[in-house]
Symmetry: D3
Subunit: 261 residues, 6 copies
């Protein structure tokens, strides 16, 4: 790993070995509850071998699953409906994938999707990790709540599944995940979180109509201007990711479905 | 500029001094036509001092312009409607800003907006530059065309202004910029570019409805699967940026308005 | 209770004691898989006593749950946000509720919601059971698929939860339930079922625009005119139920969430 | 037929012969003004024979009317665009149809549409009659007003015609019927009725957005929680019926057009 | 009528006495069937005196009708919800109003609405009469059909009432009027007229999306380019009038409601 | 000018020679700033000959421009996508066109479009000139602001271009024109003008929902009832013109693009 290690050192923060800078992509690595092993076992049983690095990359190009002969067969092979030549992972990204595999038990499919191009993968990971795991006045749960409410507005299968699981895990409240997937208005939220999601969903549905009055509502609910930036950035980001996922028919890892129910 | 210069050298990819890796954010630096100096002089006359580094950062926090007493006064001070404490630029970003200033005559306001946090600025710049200036089967003009068509659907003032100017510059066809800002369907496009914008706009307006048939239409118009990824990524990115701009009332640099008319 | 009892005898098919006429409301009683006892135990642990008849009826009027102090607390007490005086169940309906309790382990909350008025409850049950369980060219699974696709269009928490569980159970395919809840277009359906859901969702979103061409598409996918009636009736019914649920903030039984994952 | 006959006797309230339980489907039988004989004569002249029981059932299957050679020819033969085998009416339903014929001069086409299946007809009639004619804090006129406002939102020809006529009859105010068909906001309603229709139309157009604030508005306008149930149920019901009518191209009886003008 | 007659002669183009230039506003003057006197008598009984010139103009400024104490009371006093000082009619317009009164039995309220300013009235009348009564490849009925289909899309009470009556009169087919008011898709139109209304309604609902393909569909249905201009102009005009009527709460003359039923 | 003058005399009000009645169609003739000659020279250089009367009329029927070989080639030949036989201008209209040519340097293409029929041209010009240039409590700039805000809602290329230029000229504030073209909510308007545009845009987007409360908001912002009429009329008019332009693919004169930047 010498050479790889060296690259990692210079790779910047995305996968730095320095303590305290460790910002892995996925919530479960730090702090979130681990996925219940049993659930993972049940739904993600099929693809263990697939998670070896070679197999993982192959998943991108496999033929679509034939008609649902085996009804519980995972639907995430291939990961996307585009036939992209798998690229060579940079050492930093290879290390990052290994870390995901160790901690989560799988590499999130969105990473496999971006892996055809190492630069795109790295910039995506850096952007995502800063946004969702970096310092913020919003808790990680709150950022995931925005992710799900936005993705529900856009009806994005990938993001609803992956981030719905994150909300269930972070909150320890499976109902909250269901509420946000189906209709965030049925969730029994405090004033702060309701204002946050109202803003994110309005920004999603009719960005042209967001004005100072909307920002003022957030401030009155206790958010700072920096918080408003973060709410906007997270909502914006999932408006991007929802569309990349929709455009490519991106499929979530099977393991998400059973997590934290 | 010795010390600054040195920082630039170590600044990593965003503003590397190595030939061939030069990926500045803005189209005009390489290849695009420079803004007609006269136009710039006319509309951007006010903020020259503002473009000194200190003044630039101050622009973020200035009070909103009072009622339009001087009608031609630029509307981009402050840049956004959030009161964010300006952060300290990393040497790499400081060098990048100087480069923008030298080549474009100004630092794009979106960069000033992100500059309150150096990590956010760097990840944004890296993501953007790879997406819009990196290798792709789409020309830079085509990527800008997507940017404007998406931003028109979302009625985003910042992006329509900045990327409308880019379309005018890259194409040398001011009409094309106007068409895409107002209604891309009136532009007289070839089949490839029309299919590209139809896809991007559908993905913007109703991402849930994009399916294999839509990808097939792109393939029939001559796009590869990798091109489809790029169309989707650019369309996705501006669905993000449009919302960050809307949420923060981001204002475009005055200079854009007159460019390449 | 003599007279009431006599009425019950003549109460017709909804809850007849005659063998072979038994058409209970819920799919699980006949044929569907029983809910995994463990899942039920996990999520529905709280309300066992509530399922005694008295307690059940009280659930209608209880105060709303206070802020989510206990995150996994079920959210279905009270069942609806209207304060309706619980009515006296007719003997037929009382028997029907006991049957639900025995076979399902709970009485579906929609029945508790209607129970304030015995006539309304009976006409609802009779209508529902004929529609969803009576003879039809559509399988019970297909009718549930329509229920979920329509409820997703209308973002109905109650129906997505209860009928999402039904799709998981009937199909033995948890993924199918998730697909239909989130965006039916991601489900890998055969031509018949896709045509069926396209019709149901169009009928939901813009009923005024359904015309002969839409019926022809169903016929070409293999449906008879009688099937078209049934697709329309089921889609229509959930457009009603979604709105009654939304208008009253109806909450699904906690047990549904964990069923057949 | 002895046994069947016996069932009919016990068939319950839908078509009971007992005085005082008489709840025919159509408003005109009790209380509403009879249709002006002249108007009926003018527009409904054609189908008198068609209203014999045999002819009525034939109306379901007749070929569609050829191009409007005779401009005032009724458009309700066939009643729907589906070719359904007429079923055998149960004695209860046969009696109910005779009653409609006697009192109204015709059997409403929606009943003919459901008559291919006697169970479906009976459950529909029972559900409808309880909803629209049963005890409620809403007057029968108010329930018809909801029916028309909802059907206008959904642009349902059948329901606008049949229930538009009902509003004209019950209110004695032909203008009110026109207002609700065209745009309920132009009707000069008292606060109570305006709140009622605002709720019903919002529930129709965006059920996901109905929340406690909407219920509170109804309460402030004087409605009880039971009234809110009834408003919701009626609005829900016509969201169902509008869709069954749209999906089947159901045509209203010619007689409605001229009633109570 | 000597003096009036004389004014008419000099009235200029709107109501010129020259043969062949006679272009009265209202369809009934030439060719259309007169309103059935009885219907007019029934519904328009109230305002005969109001039709004297003084009373007519007063109608503009009267107080709104109090709560519907007398249910059949016309709702068109005042004509609009703006308090505009009645202007002095030019001799040409005075003569034109007398002509309307003589031939139709009333002056259409839209004319009373514009009468606060004689120039506006004259330009409106000239524009309208050329459009709806001038030479065209579209019959007058077809132009009225467009008027109603557009007004239904916009839910305009005034235009649906006045032009719905016109369709009933011109076609001699009361059903056609009802169909177009409620949902033009239920009308049994020939291919030409269906294409015409599809174009007009699309142009109304999403003008930005009309392109060459839409014009081609009209050409294939037999329309010339001049016909396309006329379809567009009529559809455009009612998009204007619907909005002026909506903005001012314009009320149609009571007499329309009963015409040609 | 003798001959022209004579034609003008008989031309009626549209182009009367009487002082004070002079109501030319285009804002620049009276009061507005002239188009910067340089801008006109740059963008409108091509069509000078085309502006001779014969050439002008030919512009209507020319073949569409081939693929954008010369990128800055104007796109307004032909003016519309309909092949209409040019009509003979009445002397009044001929004089009016000459006047446009003299004062503006071109005849607005909308006039060329209508010129196939002299009556339609005259009624359009009379209607337009009274509306946009006649006496009103709204300034000419305010009327142009409404034109642009409405046209932005409808995404009308012709009107956004022509009236966007008018806003830039009348206001002397190029930014205001850009704001209104892109999203009127970003313009920094006073309360009066914001209320005016909110009303106009609501009336455009959902005319059925405009009610007394909307008029009251205008009154509270300082508008009289007569002003409300004028706001409504201008908003209505551009809802018409936007649709005529969309339906015919009307192209704006090249000169507009560069005016008053």
């Amino acid at each position: 790993m010498g050479k790889a290690n060296k690259s990692v050192k210079t790779a910047g923060k995305a996968a730095s070995a320095k303590p305290g800078e460790d910002k892995p992509m996925l919530r479960a690595i730090k702090g979130g509850k681990s996925p219940p092993p049993k659930a993972a076992a049940k739904t993600a049983a099929a693809p263990p071998a697939a998670q070896s690095k070679t197999a993982m990359m192959k998943a991108l190009n496999a033929k679509p699953a034939p008609a649902k002969s085996a009804p519980t067969m995972p639907d995430d092979v291939p990961v996307i409906a585009l036939n992209l030549e798998p690229g060579k992972l940079s050492p930093a990204m290879a290390a990052y994938f290994r870390k995901c595999q160790d901690k989560l038990g799988f590499v999130p499919n969105v990473l496999l999707a971006y892996a055809f191009d190492s630069t795109k993968l790295e910039t995506f990971v850096a952007f995502y990790n800063d946004l969702m795991l970096g310092a913020s006045g919003l808790s990680k749960l709150e950022r995931e709540m925005i992710a799900v409410a936005v993705s529900s507005q856009n009806r994005c299968y990938y993001c609803l599944t992956a981030h719905g699981a994150a909300v269930r895990q972070y909150s320890g409240n499976p109902l909250l995940g269901e509420h946000l997937v189906m209709n965030y208005r049925v969730a029994r939220l405090n004033r702060r979180q309701r204002a946050m999601l109202d803003f994110a969903v309005k920004l999603t549905a009719s960005p042209w109509s967001v004005e100072e009055g909307d920002r003022e509502r957030l401030r009155r609910a206790g958010f700072t201007d920096r918080d408003i930036w973060d709410i906007s950035s997270v909502a914006g980001f999932f408006n991007m990711s929802n569309r990349v996922a929709a455009a490519t028919d991106m499929r979530p890892n099977a393991a998400y479905h059973g997590q934290a129910r």
